[in-house]
Symmetry: D2
Subunit: 101 residues, 4 copies
């Protein structure tokens, strides 16, 4: 399945770059396929792989914060693989053009 998530501490002020960087380091080390975008990170894997990663990232942020908001969106489609690349490639084929990504 594909899952996008973002994790935000509420008590660190407007700049949360150092908290987000610690989470990105965990994601980058996890071995799961991922893509960072300006609003979150998309990962691909089984429910247990994905949720274990998000749990680790959430608690890394909880360690240094009194309140953390975590958002997760899952797209689980049977029989499809490598959707991280495949969904966008499929849209580009339909439109016969390259999209910004």
């Amino acid at each position: 399945m594909l899952a996008q998530f973002s994790i935000v501490p509420l008590d660190k002020g407007a700049s949360v770059g150092s908290e987000v960087a610690r989470v990105l380091q965990i994601i980058d080390n996890s071995g799961l396929p991922y893509k960072l975008n300006p609003m979150g990170t998309v990962v691909e894997g089984s429910w247990d792989e994905v949720m274990e990663l998000i749990r680790t990232c959430h608690y890394e942020t909880v360690t240094g914060s009194d309140r953390v908001l975590t958002s997760i969106t899952i797209d689980d489609r049977k029989g499809m693989q490598n959707r991280m690349e495949g969904k966008i490639a499929s849209l580009e084929r339909r439109l016969h053009k390259s999209l910004r990504k």
Copy 2:
């Protein structure tokens, strides 16, 4: 922690009431505190309690559908309990009035 979630199959047409009803039955049987609203369900518990419930509900829906979208939003605040009732009560005290809920 508090978590709101919703689970939607994409291949069941505009009416997904029977799929949502099966999920609500699981939630109602789970023993976790919950509140249903018109856009999802809020539950309160530990990460593992909440995620085990959402996993069960997600896979109940996956059983009958080729594609399922699941959204989860978590609000994890240290040292607070019974936030299911407490957050709204606190707002009503601030505003000195009863709000629709």
Copy 3:
């Protein structure tokens, strides 16, 4: 259409009750049907009614904060009215029981 939304400032610390209370006062005064839940507020109206309200609430929060996160989820179904009450009532009829809400 139904829309759930929540508005969170990032630079006010773990307690954002006073910011949320100001938003709730605007919603309560708007005249649109709404229901508050522990994770956000659901409103019912046309796109323009709903988005004008959310815009007003977002900018009320922006006034006092350097960074604001606003989440909106819309469920737009043709030919249905009073879904604020109707969706839950329909689920309770299917399950032949009253649900917590």
Copy 4:
């Protein structure tokens, strides 16, 4: 401000590529900076620019569907520009490495 959005019809079956492609064509023609990711599209602009675009995309999908779910997440930070590129570049500088995107 930055906004990520996704628009999903519920009555078109598991494959919604043709509906999503029509929306992407509108976004690509809009002139607003955007980035497509596997779970949605991030755009950057003023509230009115962004919401007018999302409104157009939502109603393009409503035209052919009885039920449409639209999700929007807004990150509105004062005094920051070109955050579409800047947020990720800032994280890479912090971590002294290139991230997958």
